[in-house]
């Protein structure tokens, strides 16, 4: 397998559903090898974008290229380099894990019998399903099913890996293993990870984008973004009843409960006043600051 770098370039992609929802609004992104996190709340348009990249949906306009492949018009070529783990999926309840994985391996183009056997065995072992390989998938737990989906997505060493909210069903240990695996995969391919969990991105991704209501609010490198926020995030512990008043005066980006008290983070380039203390920002602050419109703006920055 060659190790040349491929870029995924998304240009001005828009998608509006029949019910009027504007799922994507002029989205442009450039993604190169490595892990790329797509961070956004539920309903932000992440899954739509992921499905468009996975050849399952058509945008109304825009273009997408994966290296030399025109993603929208060369679907067969995309599929040959694609690993896709959808947010929600089912399996044939009557099929056995090993048989179904073998079946998917053929559909992924692994025609050599010995190679298939090796891959299937390796993947089942590493997703911790080897002991359950002769069990029917109908009896699998959510986590087991998720791991099975991972195994399917990993078949054939994809160049473009699209994983849609993958960590939701995994226990902490599995989550770590899975993320490690993705980052390893990211050395040679484009891995696009959509999530609403900030840690997923902060731990792994070399680049990220924050998306909301179909628009890219910010595209950045997580570390750099955090660094840019230095000196701008202020913390204060308050009584819950004061919150409305403080919200009027300050640019509150997040509120949290901590031991019965409310902890607020505010965005400000200067000291916002008494009671506030400067904190070391993290990616969550970047996310919330972006979502509240304090940093990042729509296209100008995203397109850089």
């Amino acid at each position: 397998m060659e190790n040349h770098h491929v870029n995924l370039s998304i240009r001005n992609v828009s998608k509006r559903y029949a019910n009027g929802v504007q799922a994507l609004n002029d989205v442009s992104l450039t993604i190169s090898n490595g892990m790329y996190g797509l961070l956004g709340p539920n309903g932000a348009g992440k899954s739509t974008l992921m499905r468009i990249l996975a050849t399952l949906q058509e945008p109304d306009k825009g273009s997408i290229r994966l290296g030399s492949i025109d993603v929208l018009n060369q679907k067969d070529e995309v599929r040959q380099t694609l690993g896709y783990l959808p947010q929600e999926f089912g399996v044939y309840p009557k099929a056995k894990a090993e048989d179904l994985l073998d079946y998917f391996a053929v559909l992924k183009g692994i025609t050599n019998r010995a190679a298939r056997k090796e891959v299937v065995e390796s993947l089942l072992k590493q997703t911790n399903l080897w002991d359950k390989r002769r069990q029917k998938l109908g009896g699998f737990s959510g986590g087991m099913k998720q791991r099975f989906g991972v195994a399917v997505a990993l078949l054939g060493n994809p160049k473009l890996m699209i994983v849609d909210e993958p960590t939701a069903g995994l226990d902490p240990a599995e989550r770590v293993r899975f993320l490690n695996l993705l980052s390893e995969l990211g050395e040679n391919s484009v891995v696009l990870l959509s999530t609403h969990i900030v840690e997923d991105v902060s731990e792994l991704c070399t680049r990220m984008a924050i998306i909301n209501k179909g628009q890219i609010l910010k595209e950045a490198e997580p570390l750099k973004a955090v660094k840019e926020m230095h000196g701008r995030i202020w913390r204060r512990v308050i009584d819950k009843s004061l919150l409305p008043a403080i919200e009027r005066e300050h640019r509150i980006i997040s509120t949290k409960l901590l031991g019965g008290r409310t902890v607020i983070h505010a965005y400000s380039e200067e000291h916002p006043g008494s009671g506030f203390e400067l904190v070391e920002p993290d990616l969550e602050d970047v996310y919330f600051a972006t979502m509240t419109g304090n940093v990042g703006n729509h296209k100008s920055e995203a397109a850089q």
Partner: protein
């Protein structure tokens, strides 16, 4: 209340659902459509209750087929939509949940099914269909069907569909139940009825009413009853209405007890039906996870065409496995196969007598057109329809479509893989069907199994039929992309395919997957049927490719499933490969289509049945005025026939001798041909001018310049050509093929005069084509009509037939000479005595068996392999000639010829001095045991009898009852010859067989035998009546009567004989005391209802047993309106007592007793221990229930 809420939410959901309204409108439109398309017979109002009932019942079947998902949705939608964790954990009871859902579905269905009566109502009273023929409006006509048929059916179907969907947690189960209820249940009933000769099975088992009511109950109603009678809860229908709702309640109880609000772990439907199933326990506990990173081995992936093939194969294999492991996958076909194999000897039979199950015979049962609803194999297309939906929806229903659709698999591979999977299943079914056929053969000890023929027929012809249908099913699902809408479309298409003629579509190029037909017989093989078959099938395969392209470009992949989207993006899907396939499909379709059109519509004439009817009507309209025009009589036919079997060509040079047998001069001669085959080079022996040349109707009128004076004769010479060119839209048995030639004069040669039999006889068709009404057959009391016989010709026949050197030609007459000339064989036949105007000319690779009786030469020409019954036939001919000439006078000819013709026909047909028979006749296995029935022996005797009655000597007037003089008497004669050879037991078997034909649903309000007008009366009642009479007045007296009749009417002089003459002669031989019987049998439509209620016997001494019988007797006369009138009886009836194991012909006691109406006790004494006995033990009377005539003796003592 939770129940109310569940009910109202479900009801509201269903009522707001578009599909519910689609079902409603489809039902409404079908009802209107069929009301407009079908109309009741003559004499019945367009809105007669029985007709309304018929349409509503038919609507009920359509409802079952299309609206089945409704109940299934109510039961299993929660699981399908993954809502069940929310619902199942709510604090609701099973009764509230299932009950509310079920009742909502039932109510929606009950309203939905009302579309059928509504549609009929709209047709008549809003759209004004058939307004002229409407009777008074009766709400009860609609309501009785709705409440007695539709509503109970709605309950039964909803209950079954709902219960099994709930238990299997699958909406599609409901659809499968609908299919099985609609078509399969009544087929089971029909099969039982045919196998055991008891039609009550159908009445009891058909849930829909199509077979149980329309085909059985209504078939017994008279026109008057059809106009007035309503369906009522009585008899077997009552039991049906008890049985099915009970089944429905049972299903609901099963669902209630077995259903639980549990998360399903296994997908095994069976485990959910069983009570104590253990849910598979799942170990979720994982080992402590190691933190080692995952490394996926690098393996090579290839994306070549070989990969695509491999992927296709994997998809096909997976699809096959899915269907094969489905509970209905292989089992239904397997069950039909096993049942068929077990009852093989009853299925492959004729008149209840088993046939030799040759492979070709078995295949006529196994291989049927796809949409043939009258075979249990209809289960195959039904399953194809069902599983096509399952396969197309497999991923989406498992919610694995996102993963599957993003895999690097071509769209073609997806489509082809699924189709191949289905094809593999069909292949497996064909294997089962073939095994069934072989078992049917082996089980009766027949070992000559023609594997090649099996393979060609089942895996060549039949498989193609099913595979084409499967393409259609898959395509419809792919395009519609709405599972149950697609199912509904397929059901509508299937109904069209089953009855294309009802939609006035007859050309095979317009009926998907159709073909002109094929046959295979042992004499001809496949003949030339395979080429037209293949051509038309290839044309449809081209269409199938086109459909496949459409399915491919409109294939819903990914989340963009919207139809308009798929149409918009279809353009992008045209890859070079797809375009190539499209081009192949279109080029194939157009070129094959033009070729077929050239053959069916240019080389051959294409006429729809309506056009044929119109042409017949036109004949009567144009030439009916010549109906009574005097015409010369055909007295001599000389033919020079040249047969060229390898060219399928026939050339005939004919010379007719025409004589004026009337007392007035004749100046015109009418020449016409029924078949439409035109005569050429017409030359009269005296000057004649053609005044009318009508090639359309092949009718020609010549004016003789010098009229033909009484007694004068003239000769008419002409030439006839026939050559099969190309193929027609229906492949008929050809007149001439390589292996055989068989035609009658009506097929090629013209007749003289206006031809009565070209007129349309059926009153409904006459009305349809605007012809004046007239009875189908002239009244017995029509003095004018009594002057005409069916054929007036009295013909000296002579033919010289040339054929290919390896064949033998046969025609009526004595074989005068054979010779070889120009490498052709010539045969010269000549009759010594004139024959009537119907004759056949035959040529083939025959074996010939020759024998004689006195100075009559007997020859049987047969297919060399069909020799099983030849000696028996020869024996029967000789015995018949012996018996008939002794009883009825000499046989008129010096020869008699029996000749086999190709075709699956099990009967024989008699012409003067010649009898022909189909191939199946030679396969009837005679049972020659003392209590058996030698059917072939009987049939031959019957046909030889026609040489006295019907074909040669007694020529009745063509009025009511004529058939009794022909067939009734031949049945009687055949029975006498059978009796002479085998004794009473064989005759009794035949009598019992005739009685079973009364069990088929039929109208009992028939005319009397004297005025009989249908074959049932001619053959069955005529035979029974003659037999009964012979048992009362003696065979000798009956024979004297028949001989007298013959002697009086042997010459064709007027008056021609009618049933009145027969009646007169029989009466002369019958003592006055039995005249009542003669009246009951011939003059009235009388039925006896005889029953033995009790039979007790007590031994008084060593050689004496006192027997007491309690008998119930009744006699009714059924009038033409179907009303029964009881008439007092005091009849002589046989009372018989039998020992254990003795048949009807070995009585311990058999005497005639005077039996009056009502209950009575008979005491008698017998010498040995009686076992069974009763009244009319030999079934001489017309009694619809003969099985209760006798009972076994009970231990009673005095």
């Amino acid at each position: 209340m939770k129940f109310r809420k569940i009910f109202s939410v479900e009801f509201g959901y269903q009522v707001r659902s578009t599909s519910t309204w689609i079902y409603f409108f489809v039902l409404l439109c079908s009802a209107i459509f069929f009301t407009a398309l079908v109309s009741p017979n003559d004499g019945v109002y367009s809105n007669a209750p029985y007709f309304i009932a018929g349409i509503i019942i038919f609507g009920g079947m359509i409802w079952l087929l299309i609206a089945a998902p409704l109940a299934g949705e109510a039961a299993a939608r929660d699981v399908y939509s993954r809502m069940h964790p929310l619902i199942y954990t709510s604090p609701i009871s099973k009764l509230d949940y299932l009950g509310g859902r079920f009742l909502a579905a039932l109510l929606v269905n009950a309203l939905l099914i009302f579309a059928a009566p509504l549609g009929v109502l709209i047709s008549f009273h809003v759209l004004g269909i058939n307004e002229a023929g409407l009777g008074p409006f009766r709400a009860s006509a609609y309501l009785s069907v709705y409440f007695l048929v539709s509503l109970p059916n709605a309950f039964v179907a909803t209950a079954l569909q709902f219960s099994f969907s709930a238990l299997t947690r699958n909406v599609a189960t409901s659809y499968l139940i609908g299919l099985l209820l609609a078509l399969f249940a009544h087929l089971v009933g029909m099969s039982l009825a045919t196998l055991f000769g008891n039609w009550d099975f159908v009445r009891l088992l058909d849930p829909v009413g199509l077979a149980g009511l329309i085909n059985t109950e209504f078939a017994t109603w008279t026109p008057a009853e059809k106009n007035t009678r309503l369906i009522t809860l009585e008899g077997m229908f009552l039991w049906n209405r008890i049985l099915w709702p009970t089944v429905g309640v049972g299903a609901l109880l099963l669902a209630y007890t077995r259903f639980n609000f549990a998360h399903t772990v296994t997908a095994n439907w069976w485990s959910r039906l069983r009570k104590n199933h253990f849910e598979e326990t799942v170990e979720v506990g994982d080992r402590p996870t190691n933190r080692m990173a995952i490394t996926v081995p690098l393996v090579e992936r290839t994306f070549q065409s070989s990969t695509a093939l491999f992927q296709t194969w994997m998809i096909a294999r997976a699809s096959f496995q899915r269907i094969a492991t489905h509970p209905a996958g292989l089992t239904l076909v397997g069950i039909v196969a096993i049942v068929s194999a077990v009852f093989g000897d009853r299925i492959i039979s004729q008149f209840g007598i088993p046939l030799v199950p040759t492979t070709q015979q078995v295949l006529t049962y196994l291989a049927t057109p796809v949409a043939n609803l009258a075979t249990p194999w209809v289960v195959v297309p039904l399953l194809i329809m069902y599983f096509a939906g399952e396969l197309i929806w497999q991923e989406r229903e498992a919610k694995s479509n996102d993963i599957a659709d993003a895999l690097p698999v071509g769209d073609w591979a997806l489509f082809t893989g699924k189709y191949l999977g289905l094809a593999l299943v069909v292949f497996a079914w064909m294997t089962l069907i073939m095994a069934c056929g072989i078992l049917m053969q082996l089980s009766v000890g027949y070992f000559t199994i023609d594997i090649d023929l099996y393979l060609i027929t089942l895996f060549g012809l039949q498989l193609t039929e099913y595979l084409l249908f499967a393409v259609l099913a898959i395509t419809v699902h792919a395009i519609a992309n709405q599972k149950y809408i697609a199912h509904m479309l397929m059901v509508l298409i299937f109904i069209f395919l089953a009855f294309p003629a009802k939609f006035n579509v007859e050309h095979p190029m317009l009926i998907f997957g159709a073909d002109p037909g094929w046959w295979n017989t042992e004499m001809t093989g496949f003949g030339r049927t395979l080429f037209p078959w293949l051509t038309v099938k290839l044309y449809w395969i081209a269409w199938a490719l086109l459909l496949a392209v459409v399915a491919r470009v409109l294939w819903a992949r990914g989340r963009e499933e919207d139809f308009s989207y798929r149409v918009r993006y279809a353009g992008k899907q045209f890859t070079p490969a797809t375009i190539k396939v499209l081009i192949v499909a279109i080029v194939g379709m157009i070129s094959l289509g033009s070729f077929i059109f050239y053959n069916t519509n240019v080389l051959n004439e294409y006429a729809t049945s309506r056009e044929i009817g119109e042409r017949k009507a036109l004949y009567e309209i144009r030439y009916g005025k010549y109906r009574n025009r005097l015409q010369p009589q055909l007295t001599g036919t000389r033919l020079n026939v040249e047969l060229y079997p390898d060219q399928h060509r026939i050339e005939i040079r004919a010379a007719y001798t025409l004589v004026n047998v009337d007392s007035v001069a004749i100046d015109t001669v009418h020449l016409g041909s029924v078949s439409g085959n035109k005569p050429y080079e017409i030359i009269f022996s005296r000057a004649a001018a053609c005044v009318v040349t009508d090639d359309e109707l092949t009718h020609y009128i010549y004016r003789l310049l010098k009229p033909l004076l009484p007694g004068d004769s003239l000769t008419l010479n002409f030439v006839v050509h026939h050559q099969q060119r190309g193929f027609g839209h229906v492949t008929a048995m050809p007149l001439s093929s390589e292996s055989s030639t068989y035609f009658t004069n009506y097929d090629l040669l013209p007749n003289i005069g206006y031809l009565w039999h070209r007129e349309i006889r059926d009153p409904d068709s006459r009305k349809k084509y605007g012809l004046p009404a007239r009875p189908a057959i002239a009244s017995l009391y029509d003095k004018e009509a009594r002057k005409r016989s069916a054929s007036t010709d009295h013909n000296s026949f002579e033919a010289i037939i040339g054929t290919s050197p390896d064949q033998v030609a046969v025609a009526p007459g004595t074989l005068k000479r054979t010779w070889k000339e120009n490498n052709r064989m010539y045969f010269h036949f000549k009759t010594d005595v004139p024959i009537r105007g119907e004759y056949a000319i035959v040529s083939g690779h025959y074996a010939m068996k020759e024998s004689g009786w006195k100075d009559v030469a007997i020859r049987i020409y047969h297919h060399p392999q069909h020799e099983m019954n030849i000696d028996r036939m020869m024996g029967s001919v000789r015995a018949s000639l012996e018996y008939y000439s002794e009883q009825f006078g000499p046989y008129p000819f010096g020869h008699i010829t029996l000749v086999e013709h190709p075709g699956n026909d099990g009967g024989m047909h008699a012409e003067a001095s010649m009898i022909d028979f189909g191939e199946q006749f030679t396969l009837i296995t005679p049972d020659v045991s003392p209590n058996g029935f030698d059917l072939p022996y009987y049939i031959v005797a019957h046909e030889v009898a026609h040489q006295w009655f019907g074909s040669a000597q007694l020529t009745p007037a063509n009025v009511e009852g004529a058939g009794v003089l022909i067939e009734g008497l031949a049945v009687y004669c055949g029975m006498q010859v059978l009796k002479a050879q085998y004794g009473d037991a064989h005759v009794q078997r035949y009598v019992d067989f005739v009685h079973t034909s009364y069990e088929l649903p039929r109208v009992l309000a028939t005319p009397s035998l004297l005025q009989a007008n249908e074959t049932f009366l001619y053959y069955r009642k005529g035979g029974l009546a003659m037999h009964a009479l012979s048992q009362y007045i003696g065979t000798k007296n009956v024979n004297v009567a028949l001989r007298t009749l013959l002697d009086k009417h042997k010459s064709k002089m007027l008056p021609l004989p009618t049933t009145l003459d027969l009646y007169h002669e029989l009466k002369n031989q019958t003592p006055d005391s039995l005249h009542y019987l003669l009246q009951d049998l011939f003059e009235k439509n009388t039925y006896w209802q005889l029953k033995t209620q009790q039979l007790t016997a007590a031994q008084t001494n060593n050689e004496k047993w006192d027997v007491t019988l309690k008998i119930q007797a009744r006699k009714v006369v059924t009038d033409s309106l179907g009303a029964d009138h009881e008439v007092p009886m005091n009849d002589w009836l046989e009372v018989g007592i039998y020992e254990d194991g003795k048949g009807a012909h070995e009585p311990l006691y058999l005497q005639k007793h005077r039996i009056r109406s009502g209950e009575q006790v008979i005491n008698l004494t017998v010498p040995r221990k009686p076992h069974h006995g009763g009244i009319d033990p030999r079934h001489l009377m017309i009694d619809l229930k003969t099985h209760d005539n006798m009972i076994e003796s009970g231990e009673g003592g005095k």
